[in-house]
Structure formats: structure tokens, C-alpha cells
Amino acid sequence: MNFNITEQEKLFLQMIREFAEKEVKPLAAEVDEQERFPVETVEKMGKIGLMGIPVPSKYGGQGGTNQIYSMAVEELSRYCATTGVIVSAHTSLCVAPILENGTEEQKLKYLPKLCSGEWIGAFGLTEPNAGTDAAMQQTIAIEKEDKWILNGSKIFITNAGYADVYIIIAMTDKSQGTKGISAFIVEKNTPGFSIGKKEKKLGIRGSSTCELIFENCEIPKENLLGKVGKGFGIAMKTLDGGRIGIAAQALGIAQGAMDETIKYTKERKQFGKKISQFQNTQFQMADMETKIQASRLLVRSAAFKKDMSLPYSTDAAMAKLMAAETAMDVTTKAVQFHGGYGYTREYPIERMMRDAKITEIYEGTSEVQRMVIAANILK
């Protein structure tokens, strides 16, 4: 792995930073306050290719790397974690599984519109009784003539309500356990498929998180993704990739909080000194910065391995664990440095702290990441 960024990555960073600052930052507080899904930003992102970065151009993608994709999610999340997770869930949890497991017909049907941003993607695995223990799927798919009939519900689904295409994991043969789970592509407006309750959340409040309900939802046979019984593997592999996206999101949140803290501590005076001049501030900020940089290297390394088609599951777990815990730690300290002001909504820092928490929970809790890492070292 080369630790220097390439000229191409430099140019990409120049573009994404300008985009994030001009188009994303001004909306971040409003999107949070009003719990509003930023549709206009998604449209702009689609136009410049941010909705299909690591996808070959023959499927309407940008022909970019996972490295560049991780940079995109990081830079967007630096100002707005909501925008970051929209791109991450769309790309890693819907576009990627279709690209990696879809038939040629499925890829040609779904990817161009997903990559252009005309369609938004989502992924449904979690159920009320199948969270971390994802194998406990109760959504059932039964084969009937030339159709699959889905019954059940999913919860906490990111991009739900705004998404056009959903990857749905369901039980096709309960007797087979995890080998009886399959994956499906479900389009919005399919009869029998509806969006349920929208969650009110602590953070990433602009992101739409809803329940999905399937009541005798009939989908065409060709919408099976991958083979029958391979759905659990598809879901787990999808989450491996998703962890790079969420790690990048957490990294972006931490970096955003760091940027604010640097600015604030250099301005704020107490006891006749800038608070950046106190050694307590300096030592804590040195630790924050070190953890951010360590997280960044883990994220880049996981993305690099994915780009090189090397095994990256453990790397992604480490990146997500480290970046999420760093985001929580850095944002909490950043609020502390901002004192009373940091607790108010006048500054973006309290929002960043609220947004950080979810990165320790979704797409595998920090405990799950530790399970993955431990399983790899003790195998």
C-alpha cells in the first residue's frame, strides 16, 4: 500500500472538499433540525458521480476505487453524517451486492439508474428479533410458480421511504438455518410492500430510517439475488464492505469535530490565554489527532485490500471498530472543549457527538467487530 495519495486522489479530494463545503455544509444543521432527507443533495451527488463510485463504467458507474469511495464518505461526513450514510448505505449495501452477486441482466437493469442517483438503494436485514443475531430471520420467502412471495418485516432500514431498490434478506428454508436464507431485489411500489414507522433518532436525523412491511409481496422469480440459500453469505459479505463506508463516515465525523475544536481552542480565551495554550488541551488534542490518523490508515488499508481483491473482512472490522470508537471519543471531548457553547445547537459539535454514536451500533456493533477480529486471530 502506498501511503502517498495519487494525483488522481488529490484531484478527487479537491473536488469533494469543494462540493462538501459548498453543497453539504450549509444544509447540515437544517437537515438535522428538521429531520429532513436532503433530496436535493442526492440529486447533485448523482450528477457528479458520487452515487456509483466503485462501479465499472459499463454499468453506469464511475470506474473509481474503494479508496476514493472511502474518501468521499469521509469528506461528506466531515460536515454532515446524514449525507455520508446516505451514500454509504446506497453504495455498499445495495449497489455493491448487486454488482458482486447479480446476474448480468440484474446489473444492467439496476446499476445504471442507481449509479446515476436516479434511484436510491437500501438494504434490509435487521428484524425486531434478528439484530446482531442476524441468522434469526423471520421474514419468509416462498416460491410459488414464477414468483417469490415475501411475508414479514424489517426494521431500522436506512434510506427507506426514499429508496427505489431494496436488497431484502429472507428465510427460504427454515430447516436449513443460515443455509436456508436467500437475498432478493425488491422494487418500491411492489404490491404488498409498504413502508412502516419512521424512527425518531438521536443522531443522523436527516437519514430516513423506517420499518419495511411485506404482506404477500409478490416479486418476479428473476429478482432472486445470487443463489437460493446463499443469502446469509451475501448479507455478511455486504456488511464487510459496508463497514468500510461506515468507518469512513465515523472518520469524517471525528475529523469534522477536530476541525471545529482546532478553530475554537485557538479563539476562545480563558484566564487570559487561548485555551489551545493550556497543556491539558494540547495533550488531549494530540491524542485525538493520533487516533484519527490511525483510523484513517485502517480505513485506507481496508479499502486498498478490497480494491486489490484481497481478503479484507478483518481489516474492515478493525477500521470500523477503531473509527467508530474514535468518533465517539473525539466528539465527546470536542463538546467538552467547547464547554457550554458546545452543548448548544449554535455550534455543530453537539450534532457531531449525537451522530457519532450510531457508528458504534449499525452495520455491526463494536462488539460484533471484536467478535470478527477475535475469530480471525484465534482460528
Binding site: 494525483e7 473536488m15 450528477k47
Partner: protein
């Protein structure tokens, strides 16, 4: 329609620092960008490409590092990029620069030449108009908007206190204000592809110009002195009643011919 856009790589700062010894710009550590007026010029060209399928060729003169602004132009949607680089171009003032650029442009087909109004590092606003003179072309400077119809451009030109609407036949040259538009973002695919595209590197031998008119030799302007402006005196302070203060202000303004 063939469009040529001249762009310049400039340091990204309005507070350019000068080396007190040499009087030249200190470029170290300052990120380089496409000059803002030139970027608006490129956007104007790309908009014509979108509407009329124009072919957009971008030219810059500068050191090898200037290549990156041409990659950026590719990533925004330009079709062809030419880098004029040669030791013989070095030390050029605006005249020698415009000679080099027009020497290159002479070898190309064009219906419209676009330059920015001026560069943020030199602020001369001379190169565009000089190119038009060298090529004997009609020119419209300070372009705020442009429409195209049957080989004729209708141009809204900004004046200090209003606008002029002008019609000009192609081929012609325009200099564009950065307020004319908001340049598009580079697309991700554009960035991915930009590094696979060829940047044509042209030296003196590739262009149509007398070598004497290039570089330091071809530059009648000599920089006598460059310096960072010092802080002015603190000004005069009057502690007087309002009525008297008004009188003082009026007389001072008259003294400076402001009113």
C-alpha cells in the same frame, strides 16, 4: 464549433506573499488552482459543448506542474489539452505570453477563443485582448453572458455602471468574468478518466511565432520592484462634537475629490 480556452494555473490565495529579496511570488505551500475567471471561461465553453456539441480545447502555458490544471479541465469535460512548456517561454510578461499563446492558437481551428478577464496573481487583464490583437480578431472583454445563434454571438458585456449588449461574428475572442456562471464540479468519472488522456506538450518548435517575441527576450515589461504594502499611518483622530465632525468629514472628502 471549435472553442479554445486559455487557462492559467495560479496560487490559491488572495494574500500572495512576495520574496522580499527577489520580488517574486512565494509559491511553496500554496495550493495551485485554475484562475477563477478562466474557470468561468471553461464553464462557458463546456456549456456550449452541452448545447451545440462544441469541441473544447484547453491551453495553458507554464511549467510541467501546470499539467494538473489541464487534468482538471479534462475532468470537467474538455476534449483536448495542450501544455505550452519550454525554457524559451520562461520569464514572459503579458506580451510574450500572448505571443506564445497566439502562436499556438494559429496552428489550431477555432470559432471562439475564451480567456478569463484577468488572473488573480497578476491582475493585468492584458493577455486576452493581446491575443485578439495578434490574431486580428474581434474581441469582447468583461463577458457576463453569451448566446449563440447562426455563427453570431450575442454578448452581455459588463461595464462599471451597466451592461452593453453586443453582437459579434465568429471567429472572435471573449474575456470572461468569474461572475458569469458557477463552474461545474469535476465528475468522479471525469477524474478517473483524466489521467488516461493525453496532454499534448508543445515547445517553441510546435508553434507559429518568431522566437524573439517569446520569454524574457520578448518581454518589454521589467519588474522594477515588488514589495508587500506596509501599514499606513494611523490616520488623524478628531475628538469633536457631531456638527464639527460633519464639517471635517465633508472638507476631507472634498480635498480628495470624492465629493
Amino acid at each position: 464549433m471549435n472553442i479554445i480556452v486559455c487557462i492559467k494555473q495560479v496560487p490559491d490565495t488572495t494574500e500572495v506573499k512576495l520574496d522580499p529579496k527577489t520580488g517574486t511570488l512565494i509559491r511553496d505551500g500554496v495550493p495551485s488552482i485554475i484562475n477563477p475567471d478562466d474557470k468561468a471561461g471553461l464553464e462557458l465553453a463546456l456549456d456550449l459543448k452541452d448545447k451545440y456539441n462544441a469541441k473544447v480545447t484547453v491551453i495553458t502555458m507554464g511549467p510541467q506542474q501546470a499539467e494538473i490544471v489541464l487534468r482538471e479541465a479534462y475532468a470537467m469535460g474538455a476534449d483536448r489539452a495542450i501544455l505550452l512548456t519550454d525554457r524559451k517561454f520562461a520569464g514572459a510578461d503579458t506580451l510574450a505570453t500572448s505571443n506564445a499563446l497566439s502562436g499556438a492558437i494559429r496552428t489550431l481551428d477555432y470559432d471562439l477563443i475564451i480567456t478569463g478577464r484577468q488572473a488573480i496573481d497578476g491582475d493585468t487583464a492584458q493577455v486576452g485582448p493581446q491575443i485578439a490583437e495578434h490574431l486580428d480578431l474581434p474581441q469582447v472583454s468583461y463577458l457576463q453572458a453569451l448566446e449563440y445563434n447562426n455563427n453570431t454571438f450575442t454578448i452581455k458585456k459588463a461595464l462599471e455602471d451597466g451592461y452593453q449588449i453586443l453582437e459579434v461574428d465568429s471567429p472572435c475572442l471573449v474575456t470572461v468574468l468569474n461572475s458569469a456562471n458557477s463552474p461545474r464540479y469535476m465528475s468522479v468519472k471525469g477524474i478517473m478518466d483524466a489521467f488516461d488522456k493525453e496532454i499534448e506538450v508543445w515547445g517553441v518548435d510546435k508553434i507559429d511565432i518568431d522566437e524573439e517575441k517569446l520569454g524574457l527576450k520578448g518581454s518589454p515589461t521589467k519588474v522594477k520592484k515588488a514589495f508587500t504594502k506596509g501599514i499606513k499611518a494611523s490616520g488623524e483622530v478628531y475628538q469633536v462634537e457631531t456638527q464639527e465632525a460633519i464639517g471635517i468629514i465633508i472638507s476631507k472628502l472634498k480635498e480628495k475629490f470624492i465629493i
